[in-house]
Structure formats: C-alpha cells, structure tokens
C-alpha cells in the first residue's frame, strides 16, 4: 500500500515530517518500508500552453513551438509527436531541473533557439505504468483549463511524499488512507476529520429502478447500491488522477477512477455496472450454477464453479463477486446510467475464488482480509458525491442497502489487570481507557472488567489478548522493561541424538573433513546417475507436489548424491582435492496420510590427495583413508565391533572396492569407491570414495562404557611372521585365524607390510605381521611363545595353504 502524505492530511492534522510519521507508524506495527519524495529534485517546471507549432526550417523531425508560460511566450524546439496547438503541458524552463537530475539550458537546435523543454510524465518522475498508454512515453498533456505559468509539481500533486507500507495480513483496515489516518490520529493524539458525504440528488427514487436480492447470505452480508444517471464518461480531474497514480493505479475514466479512489480512501472495493445493460435493474447475489461462464473485464472467459459467488442479473452472471466484473456490463464511453456496487463478501470465499481463478485484484486483496461491513453504504455515498462533484453524473435519490442479517457488534471483555499480567508492566485502568478510546474502541464499564466494543473495521480484534496487543503497541513496546522469567529453574539439555551428532561433527572436522549442507530435495534423475537398478527402494521417494524445479522435486532417500554434486561443483571450479561430510535426514514414504519416516544419516566423500608439503609426500585420499577416518570415528564413539564386508553388488560402487558395514548383525551402511560410470555421470574423475551410514543404527551400537584393563606387569615377547598367501583372501580372515590360534597370550597383531612382486609368485602376496605375546602373571618362556607361533603357522597353513617365514 502506497499512502500519500497529503491525502492523509485531509483526515488528520499531522505536524511531524513524513519520515517521523513513518517511524512512529513503524513502531506501532504499521511498518513503513520507505518514504518516497515525489517530484524530488524537480525545479522550475511550469504549466504552459502551446500557442503555435510549426515545422523546423532545418530538420524534418523537429517542430518549433511557441509556449505561453503565463508571463511570456517561449520558443521551444520539440521532437514530440503527440502535441497539438492549444495543449497545456509541463514545460521545463531555463535553469529547470528534472527528476533525472538533468538541467535545462537555453540551446540552439539546428540553428534555432530553444528556451526550454516540454516534459513527459517520466521526466517528472511519474511511473509510466500509471499513465494512459498514449501518454506514457510522449509529452504529458494536462486538462485544457489548467492555469498557465503555475508550478507543475503543485498542479500534478508532485509536492507530496509517499509512505510505502509493508502491512501484516491482519491489518487489512490499513489498506486505505482512512485506516492509516486513524492510526496516525491515535498516535498523535489528534481527532479524525471525517465528514459525511453530501451531494444533491435527483427527485427520482432508486426504489423502482433497482433492487438486489441476496440468495447466499453466508457469502454476501451486505450490498449497497447507488444509481447515477446522465453520466458523462471522460477523464477524471487531474488531482484525482494524481492521487491514483501516487498509489500506483492507472487512471482509466472518471467512473472507474472514482471507484478506485473510494477503494483507496476508505478501503471499500467498488464496482460500477452499466445500468442499462443489467436486465430488469435486478441484481441477484448467488452462488454460481454449474456450467456457468463469464467473460471478465480482462477479456478472458472464465468457467465458474458452484462454490463461487457471482453478481448476476436475471439472465446470468455479470460479475465474479469481489474479484472482477464482467466485460458485458462494463462502463464505457457510451454508458449513460451506472450502478455503483459497494458490498461485503465472505473473505474465505473470495480468497478461494481468486485463488482458483488465478485472479488477484486490488479488490480481492481487500475482501479476503475482511473489509469494514459498517462502511459499505458510506462508501457508495462517497462515490456518488465524487461523481456529482465532478459533474460526471446525477445521483438518483436514495440508496439500496440490503443487509440480510443484522450486523452484530463485537464486544470483548477486557481486564487491565490481565494486560498487566501478560505484559509485565503496570497498565492502569485510565491508561487502558485512553488508548482504547484513541483507537475508537468504545468502552462501557471502565472498572475491573471493561466491556469493549470493537469498531467494525477492526476485524482482527476478537479476543482480550488482541486488545492487550493494542494497548502494548500504543503504550510502546520499547517502554516495556526487560526482565528474565523467574520461577522453577531448569537445566538445559540436549537429546542423546543431538549430543551424538555434535560429537560426530567434531570428530570428522578434526579428521580433516569439511561439513557441507545440501538441499533435502533432489532430482529424481540422480538415481539414474547413481546407476541404481529400476527396482531400487531408494527410488521410492516422497514427491513434492509443487516443486520449484525438477531438480528439487523429490525428498532424498540418500544423502550421497548431494555430496557427489558438491565434489563435482568444486572439481569444475578447479578445486581438485576435497574431503566432505554431511549429516542430514532422509525420507521414506509411509502409508497414505502418515508423515514419512525421517532417518538421520551421515555421508562423506573424498577425492584427490592430502595437501603436499616440503617434508611429507601427499597421500591419496582413497578407500583406506576414508576407512581410517571411519575407524577413528567409531573408536571415538565407542562403538562395538563394526564389520567391513566386501560388497560386490551395489551398482553405484566399484565392485572390487566396496564394503558394506555391519554393526551387531545390522546393516550400518556402505563405504566404497564410486563406480567409474557413476563418477563420470557426475562429471568427476575416477577414484572418488564415499560412505553413507545410518545414524540410528550407529547410535545404538555406540557409547559402550569404558572399562579399564590392567597394565601389563610382565614383559612381552615380540615375534614377526611373514606369509605368502593367495591374493583375494580377506585379511580379516587371516587375522581371525591368527587370533584364534594365538589364544589369550597373543596380545596384539599388527600387519606392517604387504608385498607383491619379485620373489612372490604371480597371484600371491607376502603379508608381514608383528605379534606380541604377553601373560598377566608371568614372564613368558621362549618355549611357550614358540608353541603359540607354531600353532598359528599350522592353522594358517591348514586353512590357507600358505608359505611361512617366521622371524
């Protein structure tokens, strides 16, 4: 809503600057986003009349004009094509300054002197969208009778300020000048200047000429109509055009302009029908019938449904109530009688209708927020007055005002003590009374329980707490003291899951991974890019009904593609080394009507190498790197044993370089090198390794209590052993055999070398282990240790047919 400062002043005396007013309103909840000075910087632009217009002696496209600016005639060269002799126009005279900052000087154009410039609306800072199309880009032509030599800023109402409001949806009443004026009056302690519209009426009565029947009283609670005869449709006066422009509305003709003007001034949307095109002068307000159609004012044919309210005459719909009028009964230059409609429609119905038709108008915007049901007739009178005042028609005597159900006054009980209780600052009865009255609430009993009657335009006030807010905002939020709640003190706690996730975040960041945050919605195409089979359960997604794009149209069932895309984006930006992780939720559909199963998961991905240094070679961030990170994580989380099993089946990963992770027999997740095809699909080089882990399962497996084991008191014995074994035997199996055969004397095993090459047969590898034997109660003898190592050798030989070298 754009509010003219001058227009406001017609309703309330304001003695503070527009900016100060804006600040006061903002701190009272009527947010003013900005204050615009119209005609800012414009100087020395006056009204002038073109007395003569002749072709330029030296140029085809220029004209030489003589312009009467009141005191003298100025010779002005112009290239304008839309001006005629006799037109009154804004003229920038010598030394003038325009909205753009351009300064006008005396000049010679093709040898002829020019002492000024005719101005377009744009040059005066007027938005072309608010000007009639023929004037939008040409010279602005003023009404013929306009006084000459006057300051054009004043004549055009550009000596004004506009307050740009950013209203909250509850304050539909402030979508009007009067509404903002009421707020300003309350804030400034002034009274509102409001006069009853007065105008003369024709002797003829409206009663026999027009009637309205409201069939659906739930959707239309009031319909006020005024009839105007002898209408002269033409341009509205300049001041009215300018008022509309200041609010961002394009003037159309005097009748339409009046309806818009009243809407802006009083907040009541109005509609004008060509009365002679209405059958029988009879309006029926009813729900649409099945199959009914109407061509709306914008020329499109609209199919109506039975839940939409229409304004109809006996032959059919003539308007979509509260949304848009019909083209057939539009007011045109030929109209001689018009019917003015000023009605109250059900906000929800209007909202639904305008939504389903995709038609949002200034009218529907106001109706759906709830307009002043008490103001319909007054608005109709105001429109009639304006039409009469500008001589655009004669008002038929009387008003049709159909109110099918009585308008009930809303009363709310208000206790100043409750206001004190809620606000935490003493609000006296007198203070409350003063504030409520300043906002036009009437208060009956000013004791402990006040009976407050809410003005009809304040549809947002229904409960005591609403009145408490009114008190608070007028009292001033910033005057309320700052305190802290007292009462039972509480301890701030994190849930186990939150602490768990925070720990993971810390460990992984410490381990060198960067945390990323990606969108929860992904493209359904990523499943193809991941080479997932058609029947993969991951493809069973929750779909967003109204996504912004295909790219963000399904809820993720896996975090991984988001991370791969992050690596890919970085790679394309020449960031070739990266280690990242994300903790987020994945979403699995549940039965219809239920919200999905949301599971927290952890995913990570690495590419490239660690950073090189003068004293360390960079190492590749590969499968074993990421496995090491996970092992560190598991150790820090105190998980039970996590098993890594070779997984050759997952189509997104390298069949030979992938492990599925299990914790206590439950599938925890997957770790592996991306399948080269998948890497390629995402625009990445080969050798990207990634993992994804279910955090619920990990959490269940974590947090084993730490229990201290005695430090050894007797020396241990170390033995190294190298075996030559067929490639492809998982080291975990070899470890298991060693552990089993080593028994409890075997304290630790470390694999310290793997070698393939010379002296090792093709298809085999040499693995070197270091084993430590130790007993709790004695120093081991050589014989005891040898017995164990021999057992280990025997079992290994038996199981894997290995060749041994014991040191």
């Amino acid at each position: 809503m754009r509010v003219s400062y001058k227009w406001l002043q017609e309703f309330v005396d304001i003695d503070i600057s527009p900016q100060e007013l804006a600040d006061r309103l903002t701190l009272a909840g009527i947010t003013v986003e900005g204050v615009i000075e119209l005609g800012k910087g414009i100087e020395k632009v006056v009204t002038g009349r073109i007395e003569s217009l002749a072709t330029h002696p030296n140029a085809d496209k220029l004209m030489v004009s003589s312009v009467n600016v009141g005191t003298e005639n100025l010779q002005i060269i112009t290239a304008a094509t839309n001006v005629r002799e006799g037109d009154v126009i804004p003229v920038a005279i010598e030394g003038a300054r325009l909205a753009s900052g351009l300064v006008i000087k005396k000049a010679k154009l093709r040898g002829v002197e020019s002492r000024g410039m005719m101005c377009s609306g744009q040059e005066l800072g007027i938005d072309p969208k608010t000007m009639a199309s023929e004037q939008a880009h040409g010279i602005m032509i003023l009404p013929p009778g306009t006084a000459l030599g006057k300051d054009a800023k004043e004549i055009l109402g550009l000596d004004d300020f506009i307050l740009e409001l950013d209203l909250t949806p509850n304050r539909g009443d402030c979508l009007s000048i009067i509404g903002v004026a009421r707020e300003a009056a309350a804030l400034l302690g002034r009274s509102l200047k409001q006069v009853q519209p007065r105008f003369s009426e024709l002797p003829e009565r409206i009663d026999g000429l027009f009637r309205v029947d409201i069939s659906d009283v739930d959707l239309c609670r009031r319909f006020s109509g005024r009839l105007i005869k002898n209408v002269h449709v033409g341009r509205s006066p300049l001041w009215m055009q300018q008022r509309l422009r200041s609010a961002g509305i394009r003037p159309i003709n005097n009748i339409v302009d009046v309806t818009n003007y009243v809407m802006l001034e009083l907040g009541q949307p109005m509609h004008a029908f060509d009365y002679n095109l209405l059958k029988d002068g009879h309006i029926i307000v009813r729900r649409s019938r099945k199959g009914e159609k109407i061509v709306s004012l914008d020329g499109s044919e609209r199919s109506l449904t039975p839940d939409m309210l229409v304004i109809a005459d006996p032959s059919g719909p003539v308007g979509i109530a509260g949304v848009m009028g019909g083209l057939a009964t539009e007011v045109t230059e030929k109209s001689v009688s018009i019917l003015l409609e000023s009605a109250f429609f059900n906000p929800i119905s209007i909202r639904r209708t305008s939504k389903s038709l995709g038609l949002r108008s200034e009218a529907s915007l106001r109706f759906e927020k709830g307009i002043d049901i008490g103001g319909c007739a007054r608005a109709a009178d105001r429109a009639a007055q304006l039409i009469a005042d500008m001589g655009a028609g004669d008002v038929v005597s009387g008003i049709v005002d159909n109110v099918p159900l009585p308008i009930q006054e809303r009363t709310v009980t208000f206790r100043p003590t409750r206001a004190t209780y809620v606000l935490g600052v003493e609000i006296s009865g007198d203070e409350a009374l003063r504030i409520l009255k300043s906002l036009n609430f009437s208060v009956q009993d000013s004791g402990e329980n006040m009976l407050v009657t809410v003005p009809t335009y304040r549809v947002d006030v229904n409960l005591e707490v609403d009145l408490i807010e009114e008190i608070a905002r007028m009292y001033g939020y910033n005057r309320v003291p700052d305190t802290l709640p007292f009462g039972q003190s509480t301890r701030g706690l994190k849930t186990r899951q939150q602490s768990f996730i925070e720990k993971i975040r810390c460990v992984l960041a410490e381990a060198g991974l960067y945390e990323v945050v990606t969108y929860s919605f992904i493209s359904p195409r990523v499943f193809d890019n991941l080479n997932l089979p058609a029947k993969s359960t991951l493809r069973n997604t929750i779909k967003v009904t109204n996504p912004l794009s295909e790219e963000q149209s399904v809820m993720r069932t896996i975090l991984l593609p988001g991370l791969i895309e992050v690596l890919s984006r970085n790679y394309s930006r020449q960031v070739r080394d990266g280690a990242i992780f994300e903790i987020g939720r994945i979403f699995y559909p549940q039965a219809e009507g239920h919200i999905p199963d949301e599971r927290p998961v952890l995913s990570g991905a690495v590419m490239g190498s660690s950073s090189a240094s003068w004293n360390r070679k960079p190492f590749e961030m590969d499968f074993y790197y990421l496995k090491g990170v996970l092992e560190k994580l598991f150790r820090n989380l105190g998980t039970g044993e996590i098993e890594f099993r070779s997984d050759t089946a997952h189509t997104s990963f390298h069949p030979g370089r992938t492990a599925s992770l299990e914790a206590g027999g439950e599938r925890l997740g997957i770790l592996g090198e991306l399948h080269p095809d998948v890497a390629e699909n995402f625009g990445l080089p080969e050798k990207v390794t990634a993992f994804e882990i279910d955090l619920n399962i990990l959490m269940a497996a974590s947090g084993r209590p730490v229990s201290y084991i005695n430090l050894p008191r007797f020396p241990g014995v170390e033995r190294d052993m190298a075996i030559i074994v067929q490639q492809g035997i998982p080291s975990s199996e070899i470890f298991n055999v060693i552990r089993l055969a080593g028994g409890e004397l075997l304290r630790s095993i470390q694999l310290f070398d793997i070698y393939r090459g010379a002296q090792v047969p093709e298809g085999f590898q040499s693995m070197a282990f270091s084993m430590k034997f130790q007993a709790e109660d004695r120093t081991l003898t050589d014989a005891e240790v040898s017995e164990r190592t021999e057992a280990i050798s025997r079992d290994l030989a038996h199981k894997f047919n290995v060749e041994l070298r014991v040191k």
Partner: protein, 340 residues
C-alpha cells in the same frame, strides 16, 4: 726426583690445556699415565730409591698423578661439552619453514552459528527439541491458529507433498508437539534448531533454510520476560554494544507479536548499505504464545502464559560473517568452507 715429578705434572697439565680434542687428551693420558707412560716410568724407577726416600717420592708421585687425573676429567668434560655444542650448532634447522600439515576440516558455518545459539540458550536453561521436517497441515498451520484459507498462510509459500502433508515452513510445529507431550507439566523451555522450506529462491531466499525456534511456557511469563530474554540473547550473540528495537508485528500463533531489530554493526546505526540506510536489521520474530495455541496444546491459557520466537539462521550467519549472498551457504565451495 721430586723436581722431575713436579715438572712432569706441570708439563702434563700444560699439554692438556692445549689439547683441542678428546683424541689428543687421550694421547696425553697414555703418554703420562699409560703402562709405558712417563709417570708410570718414574714410579717403576722407585725400586732404585732408598727405603727412606721411597715413601716421600711415592707420595709426591701419587699427588702428581692425582693432579693429572683431575685435570684430565675436567678437560674431558669441558671438551665433550664443546664438541656437543659444535654438533648442535651444525644441526640447526630453519624454524620459519611451515610445519608438517595436519588435515584441516571444519563445521559448516550454519552449524557453527547453530551451536553458538544453542549454547546461549542451554545456559539459560532451555533444552533442545526436535520434530519432523515433513509435517502435517495440522501441526504446521492449524494448531498454530492458522486455519485453512487463512490469509496469513500466504506469508509462507508452502511446498506440499500430499493433501495434508507438507514440508514444514517453520520450526513452530515443534512448539505444539512439545507442549502436547509435556502438558500439563510446567515449565516448557525449549529451543528447536532445524531445516524449514519455502517456495522462494533468490539472493536473499533459499527454498530450504534453517531456523531456531524458542518457546518458554510457565505461570507468569510476561512480555517483559520475552524482551529481557531476547535482548540478553542478542547481546550475547552480536556483542554487548548491540541495541535492540521491538516493533509490533503479526504472527497468527502469537499475540501480542513483535519483530526485533538490532542496531547495524556495520555502520553502528547511522545507516549504510547493509541495513538499507535504516540503522536497523530485522533479526527475529517473536510474541506471546496465542491463547488458542496454548489451549490446543493442552494448557489453560488463563493460568499459563509463554513466549515464542523464531529466527533465520542464514540471516544471523550472514550478518556474523559478512556474507552477502545466501546461495554461498548451499554451494559448499571448499574455498568458502575453509574460511570458517
């Protein structure tokens, strides 16, 4: 004889003093004290002495030996020290070379800010609560006093996933879920960090973003407590010099409602590009929990009051680190992430 011994001692000490290395010292030791050393020779020649002379000369010889040995020890340790010093001097390194790199890594700035906000409220006795990101219409709207066809639903352009399910547009549903679980017990003091979704995408809006919701419900919680708590929080978060401004606003689930501005740290309140020349930055929305929401959640709104607030974590993060485009937070460019 005695004179010879003394000369021998003096000579040995002089040559030890002149010795420049442990090897030389060793030679000197051998020369005087070795099996064929000069002093040893002297002692061997004692047999030729008279019984009367022998003890005297013997004593003198032992004294000389003691002097030489003492000097030898002293010189040896002095030379050893010297040698070590020399070695260490040769081992010096360039201490200005970069250290061995450890892998770097870090948390996402949004989570850094989340954690900071959480810590402040944890210390004020608020617990952390959580709720689903895909919500029902009931919890996201209706239970928050936003019935179907309420115009305020337009304030939050919604992604739907079903007729009654949607991506939550705010973390506020967790208010109702938590109160339902807790009522009629008191107090409720929670904050809710989480992802939320709205159909908006430009330099200042992201279709997915993060909020922190807060809720305090108890007997006698007042608007003045709301002000005090949030003023305290904002000064903790943005520095003690931060000023706050409360403006009336509207949220269907609070009444009275407020919007809080903080003084612009960039210009100190005098007006700049960051604050659109107003000196103030909108930072969070808040209000007293609407009585209907309390009733829906199982509390008697006449006896129990509360306040709630919600803030956009992206906005706080951007202000805190001077980030000017929200999209950077979701692009995850490593060169961006490495800065935090």
């Amino acid at each position: 004889m005695e004179r010879k011994l003394k000369m021998l001692g003096d000579e040995a000490c002089r040559s030890m003093a002149a010795a420049g290395s442990l090897d030389e010292l060793n030679e000197i030791r051998v020369r005087y004290l070795g099996k064929k050393g000069e002093l040893t020779q002297v002692l061997r020649g004692m047999g030729n002495l008279s019984a009367g002379e022998r003890p005297r000369i013997g004593q003198a010889a032992n004294e000389v030996r003691a002097v030489i040995e003492e000097e030898l020890t002293a010189r040896t340790s002095a030379l050893k020290k010297l040698v070590k010093e020399q070695r260490l001097r040769g081992e010096s390194i360039d201490v200005t070379l970069p250290g061995t790199p450890f892998p770097r890594g870090g948390k996402h700035p949004l989570n850094l800010v989340f954690e900071e906000i959480q810590e402040i409220f944890l210390s004020l006795g608020y617990s952390i609560a959580d709720g689903p990101e895909v919500e029902t219409d009931y919890y996201n709207f209706e239970a928050l006093n936003l019935p179907k066809d309420h115009p305020a639903r337009d304030m939050q352009d919604t992604f739907f996933v079903g007729s009654e399910t949607l991506l939550r547009t705010h973390t506020s549903p967790v208010q109702v879920r938590t109160m339902e679980k807790t009522a009629p017990k008191l107090p409720v003091k929670i904050i809710v960090p989480g992802k939320v979704y709205r159909r908006d995408d430009d330099a200042t809006h992201s279709p997915m973003f993060h909020q922190v919701e807060g809720l305090a419900v108890d007997r006698r919680i007042t608007f003045s407590d709301l002000k005090g708590t949030l003023d305290l929080f904002l000064r903790e978060m943005f520095g003690p010099e931060t000023r706050t401004r409360f403006r009336p606003s509207y949220f269907p689930f609070t009444e009275p409602s407020a919007e809080i501005d903080i003084s612009c740290a960039t210009c100190g309140g005098s007006g700049c590009r960051v604050c659109s020349h107003t000196g103030w930055l909108e930072i969070l929305g808040t209000g007293m929990v609407h009585p209907r929401v309390l009733e829906i959640s199982g509390y008697n709104s006449e006896e129990v009051t509360g306040f709630a607030f919600g803030m956009g974590v992206e906005r706080v993060t951007m202000l805190k680190y001077g980030i000017d485009d929200m999209r950077l937070l979701f692009e995850n460019d490593l060169r961006f992430l490495q800065q935090f």
